[in-house]
């Protein structure tokens, strides 16, 4: 409980400091959202020309797009501390974290909070809501709960990727840029139905990096497309939990990495 109230306190401080530069904040909110609007606009242009993609309509793809966009923006908002963690290693700030009487993971997590991702979240949410209005999804209490769990799971998945990137700094000092393939690239490929990818690509992003589990499989269930897959529905329904599991594993990796830490010193 103490941890939680402390976390809210930290977040409040972060928001206050970001609000100091109000104009810059508004600008970035706006420019972030406009970049992602262009992204979806381009998908819409393609559908205008081609009508459908592997049996998916524009708004079914919009549903995928909205989901993955929300998850990624939330992860950037909450997991920012890990995203910019290489700074702490380069400057030797991690030493300070080690001597405080709180867990390292908790401290890095609560250190940053990026409010300006609200623009991106709003844009993805609007796409998701329009998609929902264009599709006929029979929402039930279970389905709403399932959507919320999937969104949380997707957020955990992306935070997990940030944690891997941050942990690698214990060895390489600089964050490994390859992780961008999975974060930015993950958003890009997650915006399209997985059935269009080759089998090896699909399997890698299901079993090794469980991107499909937090986005594609839950969408199949919510959009009533499970039959088209020919896979066991139980596996699909349980898929979102892979996101939580993924974050758990990366937390263990973090713990192991901290043991290997050598200060860059001052």
């Amino acid at each position: 409980m103490h941890h939680l109230s402390l976390y809210f306190h930290f977040v409040k401080l972060r928001i206050r400091s970001q609000m100091e530069y109000r104009l810059s904040f508004v600008f970035e909110l706006f420019s972030q959202a406009s970049i992602s609007v262009i992204d979806f606009f381009m998908i819409a242009l393609l559908f205008n020309r081609f009508k459908q993609l592997a049996g998916w309509s524009l708004w079914e793809v919009g549903f995928l797009y909205g989901m993955i966009g929300i998850c990624f923006a939330l992860a950037e908002m909450f997991g920012r501390g890990f995203d910019v963690f290489q700074r702490s290693i380069l400057r030797g700030d991690f030493d300070t974290i080690l001597i405080r009487p709180l867990g390292t993971f908790y401290q890095v997590f609560s250190h940053e909070f990026l409010l300006r991702r609200l623009g991106r979240i709003a844009q993805a949410l609007v796409v998701l809501l329009i998609a929902n209005s264009q599709l006929t999804i029979s929402w039930s209490f279970t389905k709403v709960g399932y959507l919320l769990i999937s969104l949380m799971s997707g957020t955990c998945f992306f935070i997990g990727l940030f944690v891997i990137g941050a942990t690698s700094c214990f060895w390489t000092v600089q964050s490994i840029e390859i992780i961008n393939i999975f974060t930015n690239g993950g958003v890009f490929m997650g915006s399209y139905p997985f059935s269009i990818y080759r089998w090896w690509f699909r399997h890698f992003f299901t079993f090794v990096v469980p991107l499909a589990c937090v986005n594609y499989f839950p969408s199949l269930f919510l959009l009533g497309k499970i039959e088209s897959l020919g896979a066991s529905p139980i596996g699909v329904v349980l898929a979102p939990f892979a996101g939580f599991l993924f974050l758990g594993i990366t937390m263990l990796f973090w713990r192991w990495g901290v043991l290997r830490y050598q200060s860059t010193g001052h």
Partner: protein, 271 residues
């Protein structure tokens, strides 16, 4: 004449330094190469699936579309606008620009030299490997006629030149706003859309393509690649290249105007 030669020498040296600086980050370049290739792969999967539905006659066939996006990834980092920002833009923000202003050189040309060094680096270290690897894995279309290749080269050099001129214009506003993230974000969205970077303009609906044809940004991506693919031929090549030249000069002038105004009111932050 001698002083002209000397000036050229100086800017060449600046460009060379800019090139050398980047040679230090070899592992980062490898990671970037992998990322370029990943995005290319996903794009190819997406278009292959779209084309599989056979929606009727299209202005580009699948191999041409794939080639278009291979070229996009080849030149993505070469273009000053999409690649990483040069040191000069950072310097305006940090106030270090004052050091560059004390040098007895023309600031805009100096900035150009820096961007040129960057462009050359990415052309050889990022663009060329991306193209060669793509040749191995995908059906990349190669123009059969040497004149097509020559026209493409001219158009591509102009487009890199124009993208440097646009970048300088955009970031010159930093002298007024200090934080360029807002304006650069907005222009990023507009330029990325209207350059044809995400979807080739021939696939757009009529009304939107019409707007794009009146804007300068098609000259960055769509025009040179269409020349490469043989979709712009004959006299139209000259018109397209002429348009690229005119817009380049426009942005060159605008950038120079902004820089001159910016210097006259320049207040350096920090100390």
């Amino acid at each position: 004449m001698k002083s002209l030669y000397f000036a050229f020498h100086v800017y060449l040296a600046f460009a060379g330094k800019s090139f050398q600086k980047r040679m230090q980050y070899r592992v980062a370049n490898l990671a970037g190469l992998t990322t370029n290739f990943f995005f290319l792969l996903v794009q190819i999967f997406v278009y292959t699936a779209f084309y599989a539905a056979r929606p009727g006659p299209l202005p580009l066939n699948l191999d041409e579309i794939i080639t278009y996006f291979v070229l996009c990834q080849v030149f993505f980092m070469v273009m000053p606008f999409w690649g990483t920002s040069s040191e000069v833009t950072e310097a305006i923000k940090s106030g270090d620009v004052v050091l560059q202003l004390t040098k007895p050189v023309d600031f805009q040309t100096y900035w150009f030299a820096d961007e040129c060094g960057r462009a050359y680096y990415y052309l050889f270290m990022r663009g060329l490997p991306t193209f060669l690897i793509s040749l191995l894995f995908f059906e990349v279309v190669i123009p059969q006629h040497p004149t097509v290749l020559m026209a493409f080269a001219v158009s591509m050099i102009l487009s890199i030149f124009m993208s440097a001129a646009i970048t300088i214009t955009i970031f010159s506003t930093g002298f007024w706003t200090l934080d360029t993230s807002g304006i650069s974000g907005m222009s990023y969205a507009i330029i990325t859309l209207f350059s044809g970077m995400l979807v080739p303009i021939v696939l757009w609906p009529e009304w939107l393509a019409y707007i794009a044809r009146w804007l300068p940004f098609e000259g960055l991506i769509d025009v040179p690649f269409s020349i490469y693919l043989g979709k712009i031929t004959g006299i139209k090549i000259w018109i397209a290249i002429g348009k690229q030249m005119a817009w380049s000069l426009f942005f060159l002038g605008l950038g120079r105007f902004l820089l001159t105004r910016g210097f006259s009111k320049l207040v350096i932050q920090g100390g």
